[in-house]
Symmetry: C2
Subunit: 430 residues, 2 copies
Amino acid sequence: MLREVKVGIIGFGTVGSGVAACLQENIEVIERRTGVKPVLTGISDIDITTPRSVNVPKEILTTDSDALIDKVDVVVELVGGTGCAKEFIIKALKKGKPVVTANKALLAEYGEELFSVAEKSKADIYYEASVAGGIPIIKILREGLVGNKIERILGILNGTCNYILTKMEKENTSFSAVLKEAQKLGYAETDPMLDIEGTDTAHKAAILSSLAYGQWFGLKPIYVQGIGGIRLEDLKYASELGYKIKLLAVIKQENDDVQIRVHPTLVAEDTLLANVSDVFNAAMVKGQPVGEMLYYGRGAGRNPTASAVVADLVDVSLNLKYGSHRRVPAFRIGKQFRNLIPMNEIRTRYYLRIQVVDKPGVIARIATVLGNRGISMSSMLQRERQSSENVNLLVVTHTAREKDICDAVADMEAFDCVKDKIVFIRIEDI
Amino acid sequence: MLREVKVGIIGFGTVGSGVAACLQENIEVIERRTGVKPVLTGISDIDITTPRSVNVPKEILTTDSDALIDKVDVVVELVGGTGCAKEFIIKALKKGKPVVTANKALLAEYGEELFSVAEKSKADIYYEASVAGGIPIIKILREGLVGNKIERILGILNGTCNYILTKMEKENTSFSAVLKEAQKLGYAETDPMLDIEGTDTAHKAAILSSLAYGQWFGLKPIYVQGIGGIRLEDLKYASELGYKIKLLAVIKQENDDVQIRVHPTLVAEDTLLANVSDVFNAAMVKGQPVGEMLYYGRGAGRNPTASAVVADLVDVSLNLKYGSHRRVPAFRIGKQFRNLIPMNEIRTRYYLRIQVVDKPGVIARIATVLGNRGISMSSMLQRERQSSENVNLLVVTHTAREKDICDAVADMEAFDCVKDKIVFIRIEDI
């Protein structure tokens, strides 16, 4: 028997319009496939007059979100941010109304609180759209891979950053020039700092790592470095060495501990991950027993996000139909606490670009510092001098400890023969 | 509250051992994540004495599958084939016991019957492991992308074929040499015909297309061509033209109709799909509104298949816990019948390799035939003669109708100047 479910959307922006359009266009196919019918019965926004990319009956528009929450079966929060969005969600949950949200910032910062309210109210909270919109990665982790221990997740989770890095490399352009273009095209926000400083990726890393390891890590302990410092020459040198540079979320189990970090990363160019270009997202997941997998798709934007929200709406509707609320809980704390490995203690390989004065003895001094810190080089390359009297010395290390690298960098930066800051970028072997 | 569910496995082969091992090793994490505990309480097989790759208590082994079905809550069918496996499944379903199966051949041939028995008995039948074991593609299609119209699925769904094609290309070896090696390594069955003739891929295409379009297509109407006819020289020429050859399942909507076909296919080498190598599987899915996505992972073998079976066991267990049986039905017929486009009527681009006598006027004759059949060339390449008096003429066409290509091939094969059969391979533009 068909079950109709009244859906209310709070926030009638790009994504809200996409959800409304998807429900209009695909409702028949959803109904036939699932036996439930999520019917859009209300949309609230502070602005209900500006024309949107979708036509909805005027009578379902309201500025009164509280009234909307009262009259629907499920609330879709698409306001974004950590302000009133949180209030709306808590209000809905406390009334026992299930919530679907795309709000990664809110979940990363207040997930634990929201999930606890949801648990007390026995209401569902679904959030597929919060990470890599077009890729059902939350469902994959919570259900499709539920029998696996998760050994590693490597994620390209921010389309703007991936677009910028791809363009810089393909078109030989500087970071700032590409950023301006991306803003013109609407790929990057007017204030793109959340993206390019890596915070957005860290929000998503917080969500994925918590799901993978049953421990709420939150945002604070995650090491985050954005792509603002990536120079065109580093992309070129990386390419000569057989790598591409991607902003990666690195989530990894190491014995009983976990590392979670977000930073630009060298990835071997012949891997699928390195070939995820433009605005696309991807998550490479290694599970035991499933092995290595990769999921690729659009991470953001009206339509991919709408697809995720509607899938959640169907899950919530099915739970309402079958009385199976919280069948797949929003988040469950595991028994085994896993400690986060402090950034100083992580071990990986590194790419170093050291600008040095082109004089005899310089390479020997660099090599000595690295050796003294127990860092072994897998390759060293000195580029021919181009204009100034400085040359770029490129070093790729074997696995080393972060603290040793940082100390060695500090040692070297104190040398007269070393000019400018040393650039070091972590390498992830796949 | 934790719900324990008694699991019985019928068929203690490679996959059965993998499922038992996964339940042993990961049961704690599964329990913590889900609140259900699938407990392996029985395994039946005709051989219960040969040592397996996993240790299970002797007392849970039996040769009596009927008795096993009676005493468990859920039956995992891992016998394979279309014989007694079908009987076991029907017996279990009729007793109201949910079934998890990895049996693609059985589903492709008798899916409609099995699903109807399941519907009458109100019992779940889950089959994630039947297509691309390590990739939760069934869950993705039925749940993660449930709000989408599916425009296209391109699948590399048989690891053996992909391994053979990859090895031929990388190691410059003939089909038969690689096949022998694959058999030695255990990647190919002793009787590999199901794989290399494309039947296994067609089984999976039948399942995916039916899920995508809500119409049970079955195996019979699917056009199937294996990789037995692929010559090393075609891989090389394809590479010169910028393509790789993959055995693809092509499932596509065209207006209100659908095409489903399995055959070797040229795929542009700079796409992710072309770079899916060795035994890996991938499915590229294009949905509306989600856009293009790619899912990549191991398609078969003990561990990836076990991951899929255990995920299904959790879904079944949750349904038992919440009384939400058939929450996501095994398969639902849609209202809109979609016709299968006859193979003769499909339109795509083609690669032709024509062995011709190296004489004046030959190219003109070939070009004339193609022109008369309304086939337009996008490129033509005549290779320099190597040993014999024949040369390979390579033609890449613009979009043409299959029937016109077949007719043109027949016309040309009747020429004196054309030696041997003409090789034609379809191209898929991504």
